[in-house]
């Protein structure tokens, strides 16, 4: 008989993100990043009540919050904002001013935390896969101090020895300001960049993950801690907050699911939202 898991991987990632947040910080979040939003809210509802969010949707500073949604997410951010800026002001003045902590999801990441959201494979003119683009990543990574990364589906296509394109600035010797990523969480483990020249290091392995599986899914040799600690699983309170308070619809799962399964989850969420608002 299969044992019911106490938590799912999306919940573990959210919890890891939450633990990276300090009280009083200003945090930013990009487009379609519900794992990050759920992690931030979990921090707010536990150890970081004085958190301020800068949301890409609505361009507002928010200290209030509301449960996550898909069709309703715009409404939530707009209505929670205490002050809303147009995106020109946000990009030119506010993001540089606040230098928020932000979690980015790289299309590719190299051993030094440089990353890529522009294209994978082929050439820039004829890519194998065109990605959505750099958004604000190429803007803020050259000067921000508190960049973090998350990878919902750890694999060799993401963890690469050499990037096809560097749109996110990591630990490189020519950097003028700010810092390469401080932290990375994937569905397999947690990492920092404390190796020589800012090289990625495993800090904890998620429960149930083997080192050989992790290394097989990573396109470069990983620096390893000795002994090998395991990630603390979410507490009952954290799971309760995520499941019942922050994200009852399970929007966070959209980042760990793929293809038809993701579309099916989307339909469930949309139907639940329509039921609530209609």
């Amino acid at each position: 008989m299969k044992k019911e898991p106490a938590y799912t991987i999306d919940e573990l990632i959210c919890t890891c993100i939450s633990h990276q947040i300090e009280d009083g910080e200003v945090v930013a979040q990009g487009i379609a990043t519900p794992l990050v939003a759920a992690g931030y809210l979990l921090a707010k509802l536990t150890h970081a009540p004085n958190l301020t969010f800068i949301s890409a949707i609505g361009q507002s500073l928010c200290t209030n919050w509301a449960p996550l949604g898909v069709a309703t997410i715009e409404r939530l951010w707009i209505e929670q904002g205490i002050v809303t800026y147009d995106f020109v002001t946000a990009a030119c003045d506010l993001l540089p001013h606040f230098g928020p902590k932000e979690f980015f999801r790289p299309g590719q990441v190299d051993p030094f935390g440089n990353f890529n959201n522009v294209f994978m494979g082929g050439t820039y003119q004829h890519p194998r896969l065109r990605l959505p683009g750099s958004g604000g990543i190429a803007d803020v990574t050259p000067y921000e101090e508190r960049v973090c990364l998350y990878v919902p589906r750890h694999g060799r296509h993401t963890f690469v020895e050499s990037l096809d394109f560097r749109s996110g600035l990591g630990h490189i010797p020519t950097r003028q300001r700010g810092s390469g990523p401080r932290y990375l969480v994937s569905d397999l483990g947690q990492f920092d960049f404390g190796g020589e020249n800012g090289r990625m290091r495993l800090t904890t392995l998620h429960p149930g993950v083997t080192l050989s599986r992790l290394q097989a899914k990573t396109g470069f040799p990983l620096l390893l801690p000795d002994p090998l600690p395991y990630t603390e699983p979410p507490t009952a309170q954290e799971l309760h907050l995520l499941r019942d308070t922050i994200d009852p619809l399970g929007v966070r799962q959209l980042e760990t699911l793929r293809g038809a399964a993701r579309r099916e989850k989307l339909r469930q969420i949309l139907a639940a939202e329509a039921g609530k608002t209609g």
Binding site: I78, A91, G135, R166, L266
Partner: protein, 261 residues
Amino acid sequence: MIEKVRPLTAVLPHIQNGHTLGLGGMTLYRRPAAFVRALIQQKHPPQNLTLLTFTAGFASDLLIGAGLVSTVRTCYFGLESFGLAPMFTQKASTDEITIIEESEASIANGLRASMAGIGFLPSRAWQGTDLFSVRPDVQTVIDPYSGERLTAFPAISCDVAVIHVLQADRLGNCRLGGNPTVDEALAMVADTTLITAEEIVERLDAPVDIPGQVVTAVTHLPNGAWPTSCYPRYPLDGEEILRYVEMCGNGRFDEYVKRET
């Protein structure tokens, strides 16, 4: 009073072959989707457009799928949780479209420089990244005080901007309704600014988001953002966006666009 209300048929011809067309809103929010469908469904739609939009989503993907666009300027092209933008993703690996790689800062500073009428604005963005390798036109400038090298984002111009709004009045004053994106700046820098509006009233009270002084024409298009949202009037229609993604995935883009007539 300078009356700016015009029917859709009167404003569509503003967009000509080779124009830079700016689209308001962002990703799945307050996009001028009905205008874009009408543009595509013309007998002789404009060709070789340069699409300029802060983030590109549903409406932009329609324009790409229908073959109106030869060049794309945006910092993000996708459908958020609904996945990659299918037609953009297909054509981006071909020679059919050229991408002018942008970021939030390059578009924001470019629009702001254009508003101020100067050639560039400096920024710390892009320093150390590969963006310069695909944008050899973008120069750097030295801060004369500190000696720091900064990126000199060039001013961005726009022939026609199309922006969907919650409310407009007959003078062209507009209220966006929330989620302002870069539309106030876009309206200001475009040579021609076309507004489609959920509702047209005789006269809006202060405060408005876009003053009528920068608006060329206003067209009444209720539900004009559908299936993207027009806060607070309606949220995005996720089922319809899923249908679009699935039809495009099955090679049925033309059928999808036709069905919308």
